[in-house]
Amino acid sequence: MSVSVQSEDFDLGAEVTALTDGNGNIGAVVTFVGLVRDKTGGALLSMELEHYPGMTEQALAEIEGAATKRWSLSASRIIHRYGNLKTGAQIMMVATASPHRKDAFEAAEFLMDYLKTDAPFWKKEHFKDGAKWVDSKAADDAAKDRWS
């Protein structure tokens, strides 16, 4: 179980290897990677990720702890980047490892749904002709609420 908030990129393969290394009881790994998406078809220059140092790590660790209580997880990993990221760049990843796939799938979805609404990150899109903070979505709150 571990959480990293960093500006550097990450290597998904290496993270999965590290997650499962030496644990022969893991039968399933689910990963999710979020990428910088250009919805405008070419006008996006970069995406700026701001966060609240201290609270971010604490919030992610709490979310991970909640998932660990609820599902049978052998290991999990959350990495979220901050700073200025180009189109197509990796923003964040979650990985869950479990003896069985159902736990790994559900826990990964749970981590993503809670991370979206409870971890203090904010995105600002920089376009050729200006910049705009990304609005939060009501659908994200609804996605989280289905777990309670």
Binding site: L115, P120, W122, K123
Partner: protein, 84 residues
Amino acid sequence: MMQLDVLYFAWVRERIGVAKEQVSTDAHTVADLVNELSAREERYQVAFQDMAVVKVAVDQVLVSLDTPLGRAKEVAFFPPMTGG
């Protein structure tokens, strides 16, 4: 009077113009602090005009507006999160 570190993030930070400041206040709750700051200067009033789109953390834990400040050291204001 208590001394608080007050932090602002994303567009709340941009509207207020600073990321962090020390505030001396007698506010009992988060809502009192919002009202007090809004009365001080227009930039706060602009940032806090619709508190439905501003979230608050006291000592790095998400709370509601009616939360007492108690012995809080740090209060943060920010828009709903958009990570992931």
